[in-house]
C-alpha cells in the first residue's frame, strides 16, 4: 500500500469513528445557533462565534453575557474557566504530535474538542507514525468542525427552536458516557471518574464552571493516588 493511500485510510478510519458522535453533536450546535439569534446576535455574529470560539458551552455562556451587556473582562474570565479543560486535553494529546510542523500543530489545537480529544486518543495507539496519527485525528476533527459550523448556521437562520420536550441536549452526556467507558480500565480510572463526577455535582452552583475544574483536578489526583496504592499496571 502506498503511503498516500494509507493516510487516506487513516483519515477515513477517523471519520468512521466520529460518525455516530455527530448525531449527538448536531442538536447542540443547532441550539447554539438558535439561542444566539434569540438573544440578539445577528446570524453572522452567531456564525462568527462558532468559527472563532468553536466550543459549545462557552459559546452559550458568551451569548448570555453579551445579551446581558456584561463587561468584556467578565466574559473572558468565564470563557477561560469553561474552556480551561482544553489545556488538560492539550497536554494529554501533545506527546502524540511531537515533531509536527508549527502550522499543523496550530490546526490540531484549533480543532481540539472534547470529542476530537477522546476519539483521537483511541486511534493513536496502533498508529506509530506521526503522519498517520495526524491523518486519523483530522478524520475525526474535521467532520466535527464542519458539522458544528453548518448546524450553527442552520440554527441561526431557521431561528425557530427545536421542541424543548425532545430533550435533544441529552445527546451530549450520552456521547461522553460512551466515549469514556473504554478509558475506565482499572481501579485508578474508576476512582478518577467517581471523584471527578461527584465533586462536579457538589460544585454545580459555583460560578465560572469551577465545579467542573475542581472535580476534574480532584479526580486526576485521586486516580493517581488510588492507582499507586492499588498497584495498577501503568500503560503509558
Amino acid at each position: 500500500m502506498s503511503g498516500q493511500t494509507r493516510l487516506r485510510d487513516d483519515f477515513l478510519a477517523g471519520a468512521r469513528a466520529v460518525a455516530p458522535v455527530l448525531i449527538g453533536v448536531l442538536p447542540f450546535a443547532l441550539i447554539a445557533g438558535v439561542v444566539a439569534v434569540r438573544l440578539g446576535l445577528s446570524p453572522l455574529a452567531a456564525s462568527g462565534l462558532s468559527v472563532l470560539v468553536f466550543a459549545g458551552a462557552s459559546q452559550l455562556a458568551a451569548i448570555q453575557l453579551i445579551h446581558d451587556g456584561a463587561p468584556l473582562l467578565i466574559i473572558l474570565v468565564t470563557v477561560f474557566f469553561i474552556n480551561a479543560r482544553f489545556t488538560m486535553y492539550s497536554a494529554s494529546i501533545a506527546p502524540h504530535f511531537r515533531g509536527a510542523r508549527a502550522r499543523t500543530k496550530a490546526m490540531i489545537g484549533y480543532l481540539l474538542t472534547d470529542q476530537a480529544y477522546v476519539l483521537g486518543l483511541y486511534g493513536f495507539s496502533d498508529r506509530p507514525e506521526l503522519a498517520r496519527r495526524i491523518a486519523f485525528y483530522l478524520g475525526v476533527a474535521l467532520p466535527l468542525w464542519l458539522c458544528w459550523q453548518v448546524a450553527t448556521v442552520v440554527g441561526a437562520v431557521a431561528g425557530s427552536r427545536l421542541p424543548e420536550s425532545w430533550g435533544l441536549e441529552f445527546g451530549i452526556p450520552l456521547t461522553f458516557m460512551a466515549m469514556i467507558v473504554p478509558s475506565i480500565t482499572d481501579k485508578g480510572t474508576v476512582a478518577a471518574a467517581l471523584v471527578g463526577g461527584a465533586l462536579a455535582v457538589a460544585g454545580h452552583a459555583l460560578p465560572w464552571n469551577l465545579g467542573l475544574i475542581l472535580g476534574a483536578l480532584a479526580g486526576i489526583a485521586t486516580g493517581m493516588l488510588v492507582s499507586t496504592l492499588a498497584g495498577d499496571e501503568v500503560q503509558s
Binding site: 440578539g40 458568551a62 492539550s90 494529554s92 500543530k105 455535582v201
Partner: protein, 114 residues
C-alpha cells in the same frame, strides 16, 4: 442588537474569546517539542479522560433545573443509567445515544400517561 453592546463591541468580544480559547487548546501542543514531560505529569494525564468527562456528564444528568436530584423522578438519571449499561456492554457510541434517548422519551411518555 443586544442591549448596551455595539456591533463593534460584540465582534471584539467574539474575537477575544476565540483567541483565548485557541491559546488554551494550542498551549501544550505548541510547546511539546521543547518540553520534557515529568513522569508524574505523564501519570496524571492518564486520568484526564475519565476525570474531566465525568465532571461534565454527572452534573448534566444529576442536576435538573438547578438542583441535585438523585430520586427516581429524575428521568434523565434513569435513562443515563440504562445508557451506561449499554455503553459498558456494547462500547458503541451509536447504541448508547439511541438507547439513552429512547429511554428518556419512553419514560417521559409513561410519566405523562400516569
Amino acid at each position: 442588537m443586544s442591549e448596551g453592546m455595539s456591533t463593534t463591541m460584540v465582534w471584539l468580544t467574539i474575537a477575544m474569546a476565540g483567541l483565548l480559547t485557541f491559546l488554551l487548546r494550542w498551549s501544550f501542543i505548541a510547546m511539546i517539542d521543547s518540553l520534557e514531560m515529568p513522569p508524574a505529569v505523564r501519570r496524571a494525564l492518564r486520568f484526564v479522560p475519565a476525570a474531566v468527562l465525568s465532571a461534565i456528564i454527572w452534573p448534566a444528568v444529576i442536576v435538573q433545573d438547578g438542583a441535585i436530584d438523585l430520586w427516581i423522578d429524575n428521568l434523565h438519571l434513569i435513562a443515563a443509567l440504562i445508557a451506561a449499561v449499554v455503553a459498558w456492554r456494547t462500547r458503541s457510541i451509536f447504541y448508547t445515544i439511541a438507547v439513552g434517548m429512547l429511554a428518556l422519551w419512553g419514560l417521559t411518555a409513561l410519566v405523562n400517561i400516569a
